[in-house]
C-alpha cells in the first residue's frame, strides 16, 4: 500500500510518515496541490489551513483516493465539516477529525455509549503538559483552545461561551491525577450530537497541567484571541512570549497529556456515567489515531465521508491504538 503525507515539515507530520512506514506502507511526502494518483490514501497532518486540505481532498477524490485529516484546529472545523458533508455521496471517503480530540474523544464516547441504551450527556476533558519535549505544541494547542468564543451543545441547542471559563477539577489516570479544566473551543460539540441524537449536552473542557501557565493563558485569553487564524502552530507574538517565559516556572514532574470522556445516559430505568481515558505523550496522542485512520482508509475499511467517530466503530479502531501503545482506561468509582 502507498500513502502520501501532507505537512511533513511539522514534527507531527514527520512522525506520522515514519509510523506509516513502520506499519509497512510505502510513504511519500507530497504538497497539498500535488496529484493523488497512484496512492491508496492521502494523509493530512496539517493544523489549520483548511483551504489547503480541501484542495488536496478534492484532488484525492478525483482519483478515487481516500483522504484522512488529523486537523484539530477549531478555526478550521466548520469549513472541514461542511466539506466532508458535501462529499458524502463520493466514492472516495473524506474523513476529518482523526486526532485525539477530536477523534479519539469521539471513539471513546462511542465505546462508552455501547453500554447505554441512550446517551444524554458527553463531557470531553483534556489536559496537556507544557513541560517536556512537546511543550511548544502543547502550549499552542492550549492557547488556541482556551481563548475566544467556544461552541457548546446545551439543552439540545448550540450556544456560545467564552473559552477558558467554567473551571472544574477532573481526575485523569496517573500520573496526571486531578487537573483544572475550562471550556475549550473544539469540534466535538458540533459533531457528536449527530452521533448521539438523544444527547442534551456535549461540552469540551481543556487545561494545562502546570497551574501557573494555565492561569496565564486563561487570563490573557479572556482578553485577546491567542492564536492567529489558520494555524495552531503560529501562536501570537508578544503574549506568546510572555506565556513561554512562564513555562520556565512551575514545571511538572512529568510531561503526560490525556483525554477523558464522561458519557452519561440511561440503561433500563437507571442513569449511568461511564468514564474512559487515554494518557500518553502528546506526540503519541497526536499521531497514533491519524496513523490508525490512514491504515483503515488505505485498506478500504472506511466507507463514506464525515468525522472519524461517525465513520469507524470502536471495535475496528481501538485494537489499532492498543497495538501502537495507546491504552484505554476505565474509571471504577470508589462508590461502585
Amino acid at each position: 500500500m502507498k500513502a502520501a503525507v501532507i505537512g511533513t515539515e511539522s514534527q507531527k507530520g514527520r512522525r506520522v510518515a515514519r509510523d506509516l512506514q513502520e506499519a509497512g506502507l510505502e510513504t511519500i511526502a507530497i504538497d497539498p496541490a500535488q496529484s493523488a494518483a497512484g496512492f491508496d490514501v492521502i494523509v493530512s497532518s496539517l493544523e489549520g489551513f483548511p483551504e489547503k486540505e480541501i484542495t488536496s481532498a478534492e484532488a484525492a477524490g478525483s482519483h478515487g483516493v481516500p483522504f484522512v485529516s488529523g486537523n484539530s484546529d477549531p478555526d478550521s472545523a466548520e469549513a472541514l465539516i461542511a466539506f466532508a458533508e458535501s462529499r458524502q455521496s463520493s466514492d472516495a471517503p473524506v474523513v476529518i477529525g482523526c486526532g485525539w480530540s477530536p477523534g479519539l474523544s469521539g471513539i471513546l464516547a462511542r465505546l462508552a455509549a455501547g453500554e447505554l441504551d441512550e446517551v444524554r450527556r458527553v463531557k470531553v476533558s483534556w489536559v496537556v503538559s507544557t513541560s517536556g519535549p512537546d511543550r511548544n505544541r502543547a502550549l499552542a494547542r492550549a492557547m488556541l483552545s482556551l481563548s475566544g468564543s467556544a461552541v457548546t451543545f446545551e439543552n439540545g441547542a448550540w450556544t456560545r461561551r467564552q473559552a477558558g471559563q467554567e473551571g472544574e477539577e477532573v481526575f485523569f489516570p496517573e500520573p496526571i491525577g486531578w487537573k483544572a479544566v475550562h471550556i475549550a473551543r473544539a469540534l466535538d460539540p458540533l459533531t457528536l450530537p449527530g452521533v448521539f441524537p438523544a444527547a442534551e449536552r456535549v461540552v469540551v473542557k481543556g487545561g494545562i497541567s502546570e497551574p501557573l501557565v494555565g492561569r496565564l493563558v486563561r487570563r490573557i485569553g479572556s482578553r485577546v484571541t491567542l492564536a492567529s487564524r489558520g494555524s495552531i502552530e503560529r501562536t501570537s507574538g508578544a503574549y506568546g512570549q510572555v506565556i513561554r517565559a512562564a513555562q520556565g516556572f512551575g514545571q511538572s514532574s512529568h510531561s503526560w497529556s490525556g483525554v477523558r470522556v464522561d458519557v452519561t445516559g440511561t440503561t433500563g430505568d437507571a442513569t449511568k456515567t461511564i468514564s474512559l481515558a487515554v494518557v500518553d505523550q502528546l506526540s503519541n496522542l497526536d499521531s497514533i489515531p491519524l496513523v490508525v485512520s490512514a491504515i483503515l482508509a488505505a485498506r478500504g475499511e472506511i466507507v463514506g465521508s464525515g468525522t472519524l467517530d461517525s465513520r469507524v466503530t470502536p471495535e475496528s479502531f481501538v485494537p489499532g491504538l492498543t497495538q501502537r501503545g495507546l491504552r484505554v482506561a476505565r474509571l471504577v468509582r470508589r462508590d461502585s
Binding site: 481526575f171 481515558a277 492498543t322 491504552r327 484505554v328 482506561a329 476505565r330 474509571l331 471504577v332
Partner: protein
C-alpha cells in the same frame, strides 16, 4: 517589644485590622487545605482496558 502595632495618630491598637487579617489568612488556609485534601483523594481507580505497551 511584644506590643501590637498601633495607628500612628491616636495610638490605639488596630484590633479590627488584626482580626480581619487573621480571618483572611484562615480562609485562605481552609481553601488550600480543602483543595489539597480533595486533590489527594482519587475519584476512583483507572483500570486498563487494553494490552500493555509492547
Amino acid at each position: 517589644m511584644g506590643k501590637a502595632k498601633k495607628d500612628s495618630k491616636d495610638g490605639k491598637t488596630t484590633r479590627k485590622r488584626k482580626i480581619l487579617g487573621l480571618a483572611a489568612l484562615g480562609a485562605a488556609a481552609t481553601v488550600l487545605f480543602r483543595r489539597n485534601r480533595r486533590s489527594a483523594k482519587p475519584e476512583g481507580v483507572w483500570r486498563d482496558l487494553g494490552e500493555p505497551r509492547a
